[in-house]
Protein backbone atom coordinates (compact mmCIF):
# COMPACT_ATOMS: atom_id res chain seq x y z
CA UNK A 1 0.00 0.00 0.00
CA UNK A 2 1.45 3.39 -0.99
CA UNK A 3 1.80 6.33 1.35
CA UNK A 4 -1.06 8.12 -0.42
CA UNK A 5 -3.39 5.17 -0.01
CA UNK A 6 -2.50 4.92 3.68
CA UNK A 7 -3.28 8.60 4.20
CA UNK A 8 -6.60 8.26 2.42
CA UNK A 9 -7.51 5.23 4.48
CA UNK A 10 -6.60 7.11 7.65
CA UNK A 11 -8.78 10.04 6.59
CA UNK A 12 -11.71 7.70 5.89
CA UNK A 13 -11.33 6.20 9.37
CA UNK A 14 -11.19 9.66 10.92
CA UNK A 15 -14.31 10.74 9.08
CA UNK A 16 -16.18 7.58 10.04
CA UNK A 17 -15.34 8.27 13.69
CA UNK A 18 -17.00 11.71 13.44
CA UNK A 19 -20.59 11.19 14.53
CA UNK A 20 -23.31 13.34 12.98
CA UNK A 21 -25.39 15.35 15.46
CA UNK A 22 -28.23 13.19 16.80
CA UNK A 23 -31.69 13.40 15.34
CA UNK A 24 -34.12 15.13 17.74
CA UNK A 25 -36.51 12.63 19.35
CA UNK A 26 -39.51 14.73 18.29
CA UNK A 27 -38.74 14.03 14.64
CA UNK A 28 -38.68 10.29 15.19
CA UNK A 29 -42.03 10.44 17.01
CA UNK A 30 -43.55 12.62 14.30
CA UNK A 31 -42.39 10.29 11.54
CA UNK A 32 -43.55 7.22 13.45
CA UNK A 33 -47.01 8.80 13.82
CA UNK A 34 -47.09 9.57 10.11
CA UNK A 35 -46.11 6.00 9.26
CA UNK A 36 -48.67 4.32 11.51
CA UNK A 37 -51.57 6.55 10.42
CA UNK A 38 -52.53 5.78 6.88
CA UNK A 39 -53.71 9.33 6.24
CA UNK A 40 -50.72 11.60 6.33
CA UNK A 41 -51.03 15.41 6.44
CA UNK A 42 -50.50 15.44 2.68
CA UNK A 43 -53.41 13.06 2.19
CA UNK A 44 -55.60 15.21 4.44
CA UNK A 45 -54.83 18.27 2.38
CA UNK A 46 -55.63 16.27 -0.76
CA UNK A 47 -59.00 15.39 0.70
CA UNK A 48 -59.66 19.03 1.63
CA UNK A 49 -58.85 20.08 -1.92
CA UNK A 50 -61.11 17.40 -3.37
CA UNK A 51 -63.93 18.44 -1.02
CA UNK A 52 -63.55 22.07 -2.07
CA UNK A 53 -63.61 21.10 -5.76
CA UNK A 54 -66.65 18.88 -5.16
CA UNK A 55 -68.50 21.69 -3.36
CA UNK A 56 -67.72 24.08 -6.21
CA UNK A 57 -69.03 21.60 -8.78
CA UNK A 58 -72.22 21.06 -6.77
CA UNK A 59 -72.79 24.82 -6.52
CA UNK A 60 -72.19 25.23 -10.27
CA UNK A 61 -74.69 22.44 -10.99
CA UNK A 62 -77.35 24.13 -8.83
CA UNK A 63 -76.82 27.48 -10.57
CA UNK A 64 -77.00 25.95 -14.06
CA UNK A 65 -80.09 23.96 -13.11
CA UNK A 66 -81.81 27.07 -11.72
CA UNK A 67 -81.03 29.11 -14.84
CA UNK A 68 -82.22 26.30 -17.12
CA UNK A 69 -85.53 25.94 -15.31
CA UNK A 70 -86.08 29.71 -15.46
CA UNK A 71 -85.41 29.86 -19.21
CA UNK A 72 -88.17 27.30 -20.08
CA UNK A 73 -91.18 29.36 -21.35
CA UNK A 74 -94.16 29.30 -18.99
CA UNK A 75 -97.64 28.47 -20.28
CA UNK A 76 -99.02 31.70 -21.75
CA UNK A 77 -101.09 33.49 -19.17
CA UNK A 78 -104.56 34.49 -20.33
CA UNK A 79 -104.38 38.14 -21.17
CA UNK A 80 -107.83 38.93 -19.95
CA UNK A 81 -110.17 36.62 -18.22
CA UNK A 82 -113.69 36.40 -19.71
CA UNK A 83 -115.49 38.02 -16.78
CA UNK A 84 -113.05 40.95 -16.86
CA UNK A 85 -113.64 41.35 -20.60
CA UNK A 86 -117.33 41.43 -20.00
CA UNK A 87 -116.87 44.23 -17.48
CA UNK A 88 -114.75 46.21 -19.92
CA UNK A 89 -117.30 45.79 -22.69
CA UNK A 90 -119.97 46.82 -20.29
CA UNK A 91 -118.05 49.95 -19.45
CA UNK A 92 -117.46 50.69 -23.13
CA UNK A 93 -121.16 50.47 -23.74
CA UNK A 94 -121.98 52.80 -20.88
CA UNK A 95 -123.85 55.99 -21.78
CA UNK A 96 -120.73 58.07 -21.59
CA UNK A 97 -122.29 61.06 -23.27
CA UNK A 98 -124.89 61.36 -20.50
CA UNK A 99 -122.31 60.91 -17.82
CA UNK A 100 -120.02 63.59 -19.27
CA UNK A 101 -122.80 66.02 -19.62
Amino acid sequence: MTNDEQQIERLEREMTSMLPAAMPVGILDHLTDAMTHKITPQRKSDWLLLTAIGSGLAAAFVIVATLTVQSIPDTPAPSISPPMAAILFARADAPWNDIIK
Partner: protein, 175 residues
Protein backbone atom coordinates in the same frame (compact mmCIF):
# COMPACT_ATOMS: atom_id res chain seq x y z
CA UNK B 1 -52.97 -3.39 -0.19
CA UNK B 2 -50.94 -3.65 3.02
CA UNK B 3 -52.81 -4.92 6.05
CA UNK B 4 -52.75 -3.06 9.36
CA UNK B 5 -50.30 -5.37 11.17
CA UNK B 6 -48.03 -5.59 8.13
CA UNK B 7 -47.98 -1.80 7.92
CA UNK B 8 -47.16 -1.62 11.62
CA UNK B 9 -44.26 -4.10 11.21
CA UNK B 10 -42.90 -2.09 8.34
CA UNK B 11 -43.26 1.14 10.34
CA UNK B 12 -41.40 -0.50 13.26
CA UNK B 13 -38.58 -1.53 10.95
CA UNK B 14 -38.31 1.97 9.55
CA UNK B 15 -38.43 3.47 13.04
CA UNK B 16 -35.42 1.33 13.98
CA UNK B 17 -33.69 2.29 10.76
CA UNK B 18 -34.29 5.98 11.49
CA UNK B 19 -32.92 5.60 15.01
CA UNK B 20 -29.67 4.32 13.54
CA UNK B 21 -29.40 6.35 10.35
CA UNK B 22 -31.63 9.41 10.87
CA UNK B 23 -28.69 11.57 11.93
CA UNK B 24 -26.83 10.77 8.70
CA UNK B 25 -29.95 11.57 6.72
CA UNK B 26 -30.17 15.01 8.38
CA UNK B 27 -26.45 15.54 7.70
CA UNK B 28 -27.14 14.68 4.06
CA UNK B 29 -30.04 17.19 3.92
CA UNK B 30 -27.77 19.78 5.55
CA UNK B 31 -25.76 20.01 2.30
CA UNK B 32 -28.52 22.14 0.75
CA UNK B 33 -29.98 23.76 3.88
CA UNK B 34 -29.22 27.11 5.45
CA UNK B 35 -29.68 25.82 9.00
CA UNK B 36 -29.95 22.62 11.02
CA UNK B 37 -33.67 23.27 11.50
CA UNK B 38 -34.17 23.47 7.72
CA UNK B 39 -32.22 20.24 7.28
CA UNK B 40 -34.52 18.54 9.80
CA UNK B 41 -37.60 19.88 7.99
CA UNK B 42 -36.26 18.66 4.65
CA UNK B 43 -35.47 15.27 6.09
CA UNK B 44 -39.02 14.93 7.43
CA UNK B 45 -40.61 16.13 4.18
CA UNK B 46 -38.40 13.77 2.20
CA UNK B 47 -39.19 10.84 4.46
CA UNK B 48 -42.95 11.45 4.23
CA UNK B 49 -42.71 11.55 0.44
CA UNK B 50 -40.69 8.35 0.52
CA UNK B 51 -43.25 6.68 2.78
CA UNK B 52 -46.17 7.54 0.49
CA UNK B 53 -44.40 6.37 -2.67
CA UNK B 54 -42.02 3.68 -1.41
CA UNK B 55 -43.73 0.95 -3.40
CA UNK B 56 -42.11 2.26 -6.58
CA UNK B 57 -38.56 1.93 -5.18
CA UNK B 58 -36.14 -0.74 -6.33
CA UNK B 59 -33.84 -0.02 -3.40
CA UNK B 60 -35.74 1.70 -0.60
CA UNK B 61 -32.72 3.25 1.14
CA UNK B 62 -31.43 4.71 -2.12
CA UNK B 63 -34.93 6.00 -2.91
CA UNK B 64 -35.21 7.55 0.57
CA UNK B 65 -31.99 9.47 -0.08
CA UNK B 66 -33.38 10.63 -3.43
CA UNK B 67 -36.55 11.92 -1.73
CA UNK B 68 -34.64 13.73 1.03
CA UNK B 69 -32.29 15.27 -1.53
CA UNK B 70 -35.25 16.54 -3.58
CA UNK B 71 -36.98 17.99 -0.50
CA UNK B 72 -33.79 19.71 0.69
CA UNK B 73 -33.11 21.18 -2.76
CA UNK B 74 -36.70 22.46 -3.03
CA UNK B 75 -36.50 24.10 0.39
CA UNK B 76 -33.06 25.50 -0.43
CA UNK B 77 -34.38 27.03 -3.67
CA UNK B 78 -37.36 28.66 -1.96
CA UNK B 79 -35.07 30.03 0.74
CA UNK B 80 -32.67 31.47 -1.79
CA UNK B 81 -35.62 33.33 -3.32
CA UNK B 82 -36.61 34.57 0.16
CA UNK B 83 -33.04 35.58 0.92
CA UNK B 84 -32.89 37.59 -2.29
CA UNK B 85 -36.10 39.34 -1.24
CA UNK B 86 -34.82 40.00 2.25
CA UNK B 87 -31.37 40.96 0.90
CA UNK B 88 -28.32 40.79 3.14
CA UNK B 89 -29.80 38.47 5.74
CA UNK B 90 -26.75 36.96 7.42
CA UNK B 91 -26.45 33.24 7.87
CA UNK B 92 -26.59 32.77 11.64
CA UNK B 93 -26.28 28.98 11.89
CA UNK B 94 -22.62 28.09 11.76
CA UNK B 95 -22.86 25.21 14.20
CA UNK B 96 -21.05 22.00 13.52
CA UNK B 97 -23.13 19.17 12.10
CA UNK B 98 -21.17 16.69 14.23
CA UNK B 99 -21.06 15.68 17.87
CA UNK B 100 -18.12 17.57 19.41
CA UNK B 101 -15.04 15.50 20.23
CA UNK B 102 -12.78 17.49 22.54
CA UNK B 103 -9.69 15.34 21.90
CA UNK B 104 -9.90 15.81 18.16
CA UNK B 105 -11.74 19.12 17.99
CA UNK B 106 -9.20 20.88 15.79
CA UNK B 107 -8.74 18.04 13.32
CA UNK B 108 -12.50 17.40 13.09
CA UNK B 109 -13.16 21.10 12.51
CA UNK B 110 -10.56 21.07 9.73
CA UNK B 111 -12.17 18.01 8.13
CA UNK B 112 -15.63 19.57 8.35
CA UNK B 113 -14.33 22.81 6.88
CA UNK B 114 -12.62 20.96 4.01
CA UNK B 115 -15.81 19.00 3.43
CA UNK B 116 -17.80 22.23 3.10
CA UNK B 117 -15.37 23.44 0.46
CA UNK B 118 -15.91 20.41 -1.75
CA UNK B 119 -18.16 20.84 -4.80
CA UNK B 120 -21.72 19.77 -3.93
CA UNK B 121 -21.72 16.74 -6.26
CA UNK B 122 -18.60 15.34 -4.56
CA UNK B 123 -19.68 16.24 -1.04
CA UNK B 124 -23.00 14.44 -1.31
CA UNK B 125 -21.28 11.24 -2.43
CA UNK B 126 -18.87 11.42 0.53
CA UNK B 127 -21.70 11.97 3.02
CA UNK B 128 -23.74 9.10 1.59
CA UNK B 129 -20.78 6.74 1.62
CA UNK B 130 -19.06 7.62 4.92
CA UNK B 131 -21.98 8.49 7.20
CA UNK B 132 -24.94 6.98 5.35
CA UNK B 133 -23.07 3.72 4.75
CA UNK B 134 -24.51 3.35 1.24
CA UNK B 135 -22.86 1.16 -1.35
CA UNK B 136 -21.72 2.72 -4.62
CA UNK B 137 -24.61 0.93 -6.33
CA UNK B 138 -27.07 2.60 -3.95
CA UNK B 139 -25.39 5.99 -4.37
CA UNK B 140 -25.58 5.60 -8.14
CA UNK B 141 -29.25 4.72 -7.92
CA UNK B 142 -30.05 7.61 -5.56
CA UNK B 143 -28.28 10.16 -7.73
CA UNK B 144 -29.15 8.56 -11.09
CA UNK B 145 -25.49 7.92 -11.87
CA UNK B 146 -23.63 4.87 -13.16
CA UNK B 147 -21.97 2.93 -10.34
CA UNK B 148 -18.48 3.63 -11.75
CA UNK B 149 -19.16 7.39 -11.78
CA UNK B 150 -20.33 7.31 -8.16
CA UNK B 151 -17.21 5.38 -7.14
CA UNK B 152 -14.78 7.61 -9.04
CA UNK B 153 -16.49 10.77 -7.75
CA UNK B 154 -16.02 9.47 -4.20
CA UNK B 155 -12.35 8.60 -4.72
CA UNK B 156 -11.69 11.98 -6.31
CA UNK B 157 -13.43 13.76 -3.41
CA UNK B 158 -11.48 11.87 -0.74
CA UNK B 159 -8.22 12.52 -2.54
CA UNK B 160 -9.08 16.20 -2.75
CA UNK B 161 -10.02 16.32 0.95
CA UNK B 162 -6.71 14.69 1.83
CA UNK B 163 -4.76 17.17 -0.27
CA UNK B 164 -6.63 20.17 1.19
CA UNK B 165 -6.07 18.96 4.74
CA UNK B 166 -2.36 18.30 4.14
CA UNK B 167 -1.91 21.79 2.67
CA UNK B 168 -3.68 23.34 5.65
CA UNK B 169 -1.47 21.35 8.03
CA UNK B 170 1.67 22.55 6.24
CA UNK B 171 0.47 26.17 6.41
CA UNK B 172 -0.38 25.70 10.08
CA UNK B 173 3.08 24.24 10.84
CA UNK B 174 4.84 27.07 9.00
CA UNK B 175 3.24 29.72 11.27
Amino acid sequence: MIGGSQLSDEADQWRLWLQRHGAALILFARQWSASSADAEDSMQAGFLKFWRTRSRARDQVAYLYTCVRGAAMDLGRSQRRRTIREANTPRTDNDSSFIPNLERAERNAAIESALRELPADQREVVVMRIWGGLTFAQIGQALHLPLATAASRYRYAIKRLETDLSEKEVRHDER
